[in-house]
Symmetry: C2
Subunit: 189 residues, 2 copies
DNA sequence: TTTAGTTTAGACTATTTGGTCTAGTGGAGG
DNA sequence: CCTCCACTAGACCAAATAGTCTAAACTAAA
């Protein structure tokens, strides 16, 4: 299985943009990171923007999906599935250190670029609706508004991670998120 | 009362950096925004970095403080003070639209610049300890860990705001934050 | 009114930026 | 072996970038 130039580029861009932000990452940094000449880069992508947008779709989207799409197969309580997913986040070192890549890019680019806003929003919506369907399939009391709860879960996890990189650590993340878990448990009938 | 050049600069930088980010804001944009020549700008600040760092200390810090420092004078339950502060956030249009300015700058700059990390962390710590003291002076059950609760509150508010600018609105913010309020209420004895 | 210091003014510079262009190279199919 | 085309290579470019410098215009105090 060969490691294609295109993949090399996308991996490098993902990594650099994740840490330095989109505006903080220059073409030269990317070229240096993956040791390819400029010609190759512009052979695969027509602009920097298209490159980063591709990273959103082909790198960030799957990573986001991976997080909450754990074995739904089992007939398990939706809340428990969610809780396990949220706790699992702590195992991803980079997440605790740098926060959610989607959230970071959202904050940087959405206010100033509609194409980014759309692409990011798309992923966000899918994530939210998947969380929603997990919650629907759970023992949560009937009077709880699940839509806002799904949003609350995302907000809290993103927020906990965004205290990074200076204020957070795995332990701290878990302490913080523990309150979310208690709250979710308290909503069961 | 005159509107000094220095203040004009800081206001412009605050506004531009808030929306476009630090790397997304050029010196020329700043000059144009406040219609001053380059000489003046570099008379007051020796570099762009120093300028933005000054904005953190003289613009963002007071704004953050203003939010949670509401009439503590009254002998009121700390939780109620917090809840009122959190709800009040929704009245600040720009907050709901663009998120918390401290959080945004934190995510962009902290991973790549220690001076920013320190300055931002300083404000964060002060905010957290103020929240903590409000919580200590409240009717929250004794077995609740207040430190992590303070962190949870910040994380949730920041997270709710960071769903912006594409996913949020005042209504949505309140819906989301409503879960936080319920949780806080449930912690009272 | 002179003087000294602060503030304004903007032309100028060196570097970095994203992006183009043309020439070559390598490997798969004929 | 040849041919063709995807890919590599990096020199080159115009624009934007942060920051410098010198001169002038204020302003307040003597």
């Amino acid at each position: 299985m060969k490691y294609s130039t295109r993949d090399k580029i996308l991996d490098a861009v993902y990594k650099l943009v994740y840490i330095n932000g989109c505006n903080g990452t220059s073409i030269d940094m990317i070229l240096k990171e993956c040791s390819i000449p400029k010609g190759s880069l512009y052979h695969y992508f027509k602009s920097k923007k298209e490159m980063v947008l591709t990273v959103v779709k082909e790198r960030i989207a799957p990573k986001m999906h991976e997080f909450y799409d754990l074995e739904k197969v089992k007939k398990e309580d939706g809340v428990d599935i969610m809780v396990r997913a949220i706790l699992k986040v702590s195992q991803k070192e980079e997440l605790v250190k740098f926060g959610c890549p989607l959230n970071r890019l959202n904050q940087e680019m959405s206010p100033v670029d509609d194409d980014f806003a759309k692409a990011i929003n798309f992923i966000y919506d899918r994530m939210k609706s998947d969380i929603l369907s997990a919650l629907k399939d759970s023992s949560i009391k009937a009077d709880v508004d699940l839509d806002s709860l799904a949003q609350f879960i995302i907000a809290t996890v993103w927020g906990s991670l965004s205290l990074s990189p200076r204020h957070s650590s795995i332990k701290r993340y878990l302490n913080t998120i523990n309150h979310l878990v208690s709250y979710l448990e308290s909503l069961k009938y």
